[in-house]
Symmetry: C2
Subunit: 407 residues, 2 copies
């Protein structure tokens, strides 16, 4: 199966990848495209010419209508697109609708319904425990029984490339007390951080009261995005008891502009590292529930970490099963993210909090050092996985630059 | 100013109230209506006949387009509606479009963007502290410095009248341990509870990075809804550390089908009970920032509590200012709720957790007793406030019945 598209065969965006996104060409309306090599295939005119029943979903400014078609129709559409790109017969009709990536602007790919963030890396959760509660068991008692998670702010999920304004807020500075009571001050966060995560997008929703079993994961998850869940640790530390993170997270969460369909990950499934104690029945999974996705965290062009997604304790199918076990419904466009991905060794830590071990040990960023993010820093997350053609596919990257707080 | 609408003058839905909702009459499309007395005025045909510029917003199945018009246009539309209902000249054109409430079905009034739940009652937060941490200060150190809040699930906000399915989930039963470690079991929640709250709906949104000052509250808040934030306390107790409530809340949150515009509350503003320590500058308010709204909690027709909203520590303007101080944007349809409203005395507690003082003291529901909600129980929250015509206006009620868990 070889594509005729110039430069695409053997690249990280070969026909075994084919992520979807929403692009804008100069002077035109936003539309749905699929990436092949360094080109975007403008699907709307091609689908209209082919009289594809669902052609209208490509004329939209979000992927939601496409994602909501369901797994069977989406699998068929993917086969149709692969056919377009490998069969020479129709090449003359398709080639005029390939647009160089450099000629388009990528937009927010879908309308986010609810956004849930999990905490599914044992290495990350343990590191946080060791940093903040060194005298105690690093994991809290519930951690190995359920995928701990919480709701984040859907309205501030932004596409890769959006500048991140350093948030203002309440923090308690060292020694800032009135008598023995903490005395918060207002100002720009001094502990701005990243969280390198993987996100999952709902295609087919459910009705209130229904539960999604771990076996039904692929019927409801449309695809994957890269996620950087920006975090203001000083704001978070002061606000988070007892109801969890709020303003320390809600100022921005960046996602990739490309959504990789689940089908592109067929060769990436691996066994989980192992779960002990055995989870309750509704959380049990058969076979390969983990994903072998490699993440690279770069700051100002320097790689600072390589978190391995395959080291995650809880699988995406378990996260979705847990999220819905109380009958909560999901909608097309709902996003859930894994939480910070961190591996067992220091070079695999997915946050500055861990890389600096609680802001105590500066780490190298090229010939500079960092504890937390500084204004002007640009962070880029890239993701790769085994493709079904034997090489590696790239998931869309997530990038963002820190700009100074607004006074 | 007296309305000609039969039965409306002097009622709790007089022309100083005029809440909006989305109604469906038999065989017709959902449309926007306004309540007067026990009738719904079908605004779309009246606005079309009057050639009102914004007539299209009444032909929608949600209030979002109306709410998004902004304060100035909404104030003008309200004056136009009052005119319709008090001036006899146009009565013959308006009266045919008044539909008895009994002939329509009320729908979910708006699409919820993000849903944030606060924890703004000192009496409630203190009671929770005394129940769960009797040896310690009832309030955590941050509580009087900021309105503690978190994101809830927007996709499971349901309209009043929706049955509430008892959620299943993980809980740790008394004595349920493996060695010294807690051993959770899966099953229906045995500690199902209410939270009697007041909700605020965003009309005019903001862009990412902007902050809403406490003084700009009325420019962004469109109106109020009643809120019952159903809670499964046993699920919540096990899951909530360290990221806050998740499945213990996300199965359902009920809101009133009527949205009361802020303008209807002009006579309800009162001073806050007092804030000590003085909040940081961005949280300071001038004048009457509290609301004199009386809530009544009924279970199976028996009043069990009367929480007074005027006893709330944090004001709605402070909640919105805090929510956006980090630059988080808000959208038309965003909902934020106050958290459980509880007054200083037992008969004013807004949750079963407090009414039973931590499930220890059964309380009377008619000639029965309750600790937590039982299957078949129906809970109704009603809200009243001083109107501008000298009487009291009613805010839409919130009702829901508990149905058994799905196995």
């Amino acid at each position: 199966m070889k594509t005729w598209v110039p430069g695409a065969a053997g690249s990280a965006y070969d026909v075994d990848n084919l992520p979807y996104g929403v692009f804008v060409a100069a002077g035109e309306q936003p539309r749905v495209g699929v990436r092949i090599g360094d080109l975007v295939l403008d699907l709307a005119p091609v689908a209209a010419a082919a009289m594809l029943e669902e052609a209208h979903v490509f004329e939209q400014s979000t992927l939601n209508p496409l994602m909501g078609l369901g797994k069977a129709r989406n699998d068929a559409i993917r086969r149709w697109i692969v056919g377009l790109l490998v069969e020479h017969a129709g090449r003359a009709d398709v080639e005029p609708h390939l647009v160089p990536l450099g000629d388009v602007e990528m937009r927010m790919p879908f309308d986010v319904g609810d956004y849930v963030d999990f905490y599914a890396s044992e290495h990350h959760a343990s590191a946080v425990g060791k940093i903040f509660r060194p005298e105690q068991e690093p994991l809290l008692p519930n951690w190995k029984h359920l995928p701990v998670g919480y709701h984040g702010r859907a309205g501030t999920v932004v596409p890769s490339g959006t500048d991140i304004v350093r948030p203002m807020g309440q923090r308690v500075l060292p020694g800032s007390t009135t008598g023995s009571a903490p005395a918060p001050v207002f100002g720009p966060s001094g502990r701005l951080d990243i969280e390198a995560e993987l996100g999952f997008v709902v295609g087919t929703g459910t009705t209130l009261g229904a539960r999604v079993s771990t076996a039904a994961f692929a019927d409801h998850a449309f695809g994957l995005v890269g996620v950087n869940d920006w975090s203001a640790r000083d704001i978070q530390a002061w606000e988070y008891v007892p109801l969890g993170p709020f303003l320390g997270k809600s100022f921005a969460t960046s996602i990739s502009t490309w959504v990789t369909p689940l089908a592109a990950l067929d060769a990436a499934w691996v066994d989980l590292p192992g779960q002990d104690p055995e989870p309750l029945p509704y959380l049990q999974v058969d076979g390969r529930a983990g994903l072998d996705i490699s993440i690279e965290v770069s700051v100002n062009g320097h790689v600072v970490s390589r978190p391995p997604y395959r080291s995650m304790y809880w699988s995406p199918a378990q996260m979705l099963a847990h999220l819905t076990v109380n009958g909560a419904s999901v909608r097309t466009g709902d996003l859930w993210a894994s939480g910070t991905v961190s591996g067992p060794v220091p070079e695999e830590r997915g946050s500055f909090l861990e890389l600096s071990w609680g802001w105590r040990e500066p780490f190298a960023v090229g010939d500079q050092e960092r504890l937390a993010l500084e204004d002007g820093d640009e962070v880029t997350l890239t993701y790769t996985a085994p493709g079904t053609l034997g090489g590696r596919i790239a998931l869309g990257e997530v990038t963002g630059r820190i700009v100074p707080a607004r006074p």
